[in-house]
């Protein structure tokens, strides 16, 4: 254990802990922007700077490990001034488009700007328009909103181990570029960690706003992992899927199916009535008629050839509850184990 003082408060933490984590442990809130708790420290934004007694220049607390006897100050006028300067530098070229940005309202950059009460950052347009190509068509990259925190690049490399995107260029020319579009699996991990609206989902663009949406926690129906996901619901329509950092087995990750495979829910081509096939053509039927027919035929087959002559296939596009009921129906009512599901649920 290492003992140190943060803002005059004694704290003991295991060796190797960063100053930021030690401070968070005792409830001291150091402002951060590029830091993400699922990622290794990136150190690109310089918001989490702190002063250490005896050291001339402030250090970034996210990647500085604690040392025995350290005396750390997290708030001072000089630090505040420096943070404001750093934040203004990030804002200089930022597009003036909060009113149309999907992230507005839950944007880390907005929160920081408001927290620091930043004023006077005249917009400076870039000389050259930046390329907005990205590794997957499911995600749109908005280079003018990008603050170059490199969370997306780090998440792609460290969480997924893929490395489909990378940062390129220096200073004002820096941007995220596609390193290898072919290995991108469109999992949206980069989307999840983006602190601003620089990466937005292409399917649900402009469909809702964070403060108008209803968020519903549910379990992904696609496979047996049972990832926790949060449906973004607007006017009784699912307009997107996101997840929470501390939820379930996935802890903030989703795969391409879970994150982007939701449009079938509100699809116009879905069946609205039961259909019965007669002479090679479907006709509309009432529920009573359709259910009677199914019950009659199933009982006839069961009577004639035994329950094992019947098999059932369920679908990942039903809810988990419906799938449970279906297998219960097959086993308990029909009396067969011939039941399967595309995800072996």
């Amino acid at each position: 254990m290492v003992s140190l003082k943060i803002d005059g408060r004694e704290v003991s933490v295991p060796e190797g802990t960063t100053i930021l984590k030690a401070a968070q442990g005792i409830g001291i809130d150091i402002p951060t922007l590029c830091y993400h708790k699922r990622l290794p420290p990136i150190g690109s934004c310089n918001m989490c700077i702190v002063e250490i007694r005896g050291q001339e220049a402030p250090v970034t607390s996210c990647n500085t490990p604690v040392e025995e006897g350290m005396e750390v100050t997290t708030e001072s006028e000089a630090l505040h001034a420096q943070r404001v300067v750093n934040l203004k530098k990030i804002l200089k070229h930022h597009a003036l488009d909060c009113p149309i940005c999907d992230k507005a309202g839950e944007c880390d950059l907005q929160n920081l700007v408001y927290r620091f009460g930043i004023t006077e950052v005249p917009f400076e347009p870039r000389k050259q328009k930046r390329d907005d190509s990205y590794s997957t068509s499911l995600i749109r990259y908005w280079p003018e909103r990008c603050i170059m925190c490199k969370r997306c690049v780090t998440a792609c490399r460290e969480i997924k181990g893929i490395g489909a995107i990378e940062a390129s260029g220096e200073g004002d020319d820096a941007r995220i570029v596609v390193a290898n579009a072919e290995i991108c699996r469109s999992c949206g991990e980069c989307l999840m960690v983006c602190p601003t609206g620089a990466l937005t989902e292409n399917l649900s663009r402009f469909k809702g706003r964070p403060w108008l949406e209803k968020r519903v926690m549910t379990t992904c129906p696609y496979c047996g992992c049972g990832c926790q996901m949060e449906l973004r619901v607007m006017e009784n329509r699912v307009i997107g899927v996101t997840t929470k950092l501390d939820a379930g087995v996935n802890q903030g990750s989703l795969c391409v199916k879970g994150r982007f495979g939701y449009e079938f829910i509100g699809d116009e081509d879905r069946l609205t009535d039961p259909l019965i096939k007669e002479n090679g053509a479907f006709r509309k039927a009432s529920w009573d008629e359709a259910l009677d027919l199914v019950a009659q035929k199933l009982s006839a087959i069961k009577k004639e050839s035994g329950p094992d002559a019947i098999g059932g296939l369920s679908s990942a596009k039903c809810t988990n509850e419906e799938n449970y009921l279906f297998q219960k129906f097959m086993r308990a009512v029909i009396g067969t184990n011939n039941v399967d599901h595309c995800a072996r649920l």
Partner: protein, 390 residues
């Protein structure tokens, strides 16, 4: 010996002379009132509870609907309470504009009172003149805010935007015109024999009793107590202006009438001084967490855009703590008690509505008078139910 018989008469809540939805249950011995019981609650909208779920900025329109006849006078009380809680100072120009709007609201309240009070007692003409002049203020409200009755022109930290030239012109026109209109009101009523007979020595209350009942505003001052929040605890630059507090002697219906009539003159003096000495400068606080950045800045400054977004979408946080701020509304001391819990909406808002205390004095004032006087007494108290029921 024959037993005395009384009859019970239900007056309101839909009686035209109860000014909204006040219901008074009268116990009558012949035509004499032996007991009067006011019943309230017909206009309850849960404004205090609603406030707990809105951010500080969004509560302002709710306060317009307390005493809706003088909406800006409520806005100022609420905004000052929030500003006290947040510890911010409002620029001088905004304070003057607020003063003008609040005094104009007092005019609107008193004109409504004058017209309906006289109408209730049988003087039909007055309401037409009162509403003719009230219309001028409605137009001023419309000019500055777009709304005629409930302007919601104030914001936490100032006012919504600067006064237009047209607004200043219209206020000046009003200030110039109104003394003539006022002398017209006086001609119609002040020495009118029927009016004085119907109002003098009716519903009189002594200074001590008035204080005990918690009366404030013109109804208290008519009994001879010179208590006016604008003088006692000056706010929003009221100490810059030269004005008097009119007081009565007898505390009867007629004195309450005279006090309000004199308040017209005094309010006019305040508006006149404010509009002629309107200081230059901003109308919103420069506090980056509260002052709404101008749209012209938003178009070229990302920090202004973000702050405007955050201030309007989420709203500023108020620190933990509690404050009480009173202002002189048209009806009396209007107080806002706010408890902040560090979030963007209050933990509790309690309104000290002057009309609630005025209504509580109804049994005391009516007992012993004739039933026809009940109308005169309710009218002279000038209760507005939007404020009592909240």
């Amino acid at each position: 010996m024959a037993e005395a018989k009384t009859i019970t008469l239900n007056m309101g809540p839909h009686h035209p002379a109860t000014h909204g939805v006040l219901r008074v249950v009268l116990e009558l011995d012949g035509e004499t009132i032996v007991k009067a019981t006011p019943h309230i609650g017909y206009l309850h909208r849960g404004i205090e509870k609603l406030a707990e779920h809105r951010n500080y900025q969004q509560i302002i329109p709710l306060t317009d609907r307390l005493d809706y006849s003088s909406a800006s006078a409520n806005n100022i009380g609420y905004c000052l309470a929030v500003e006290k809680l947040m510890g911010i100072e409002v620029p001088k120009r905004a304070q003057y504009l607020r003063g003008i709007m609040a005094e104009l609201a007092r005019f609107m309240g008193h004109q409504l009172w004058l017209g309906t009070h006289a109408l209730d007692i049988g003087a039909m003409t007055v309401i037409f003149y009162a509403f003719r002049d009230r219309e001028m203020i409605m137009k001023i409200n419309e000019e500055i805010s777009g709304y005629r009755l409930t302007p919601t022109f104030f914001r936490i930290g100032g006012v919504a935007h600067d006064a237009t030239d047209e607004f200043i012109k219209k206020v000046r026109e009003f200030v110039k015109w109104f003394p003539k209109a006022l002398s017209g009101y006086h001609t119609l009523l002040t020495e009118n024999k029927i009016w004085t007979t119907r109002t003098m020595n009716i519903g009189a209350i002594t200074a001590k009793e008035a204080v005990n009942y918690g009366l404030t505003g013109p109804s208290l001052r008519a009994s001879g107590v010179a208590y006016d929040v604008r003088k006692a605890f000056p706010y929003s630059s009221y100490d810059d202006f030269d004005f008097k507090i009119p007081v009565g002697e007898n505390g009867d219906v007629y004195d309450r009438y005279l006090v309000r009539m004199e308040e017209f003159t005094q309010s006019l003096a305040i508006i006149h001084q404010a509009i002629e000495n309107l200081p230059e400068g901003p109308v919103q606080t420069d506090n980056p967490w509260i002052g709404n950045p101008a749209l012209s800045d938003v178009e070229k400054d990302i920090s202004a855009l973000i702050r405007r977004f955050m201030i309007n979408a989420k709203g500023p946080n108020a620190p933990q703590g509690e404050v009480y701020q009173a202002v002189e509304g048209a009806k009396g001391e209007l107080g806002f008690y706010l408890v902040g819990d560090g979030s963007e909406h209050p933990y509790r808002m309690k309104v000290r509505a002057p009309c609630f205390y005025l209504a509580s004095a109804i049994p005391r004032l009516m007992t012993g008078h004739m039933i026809a006087d009940a109308i005169a007494i309710i009218g002279s108290l000038d209760v507005v139910l939007g404020e009592i029921d909240r």
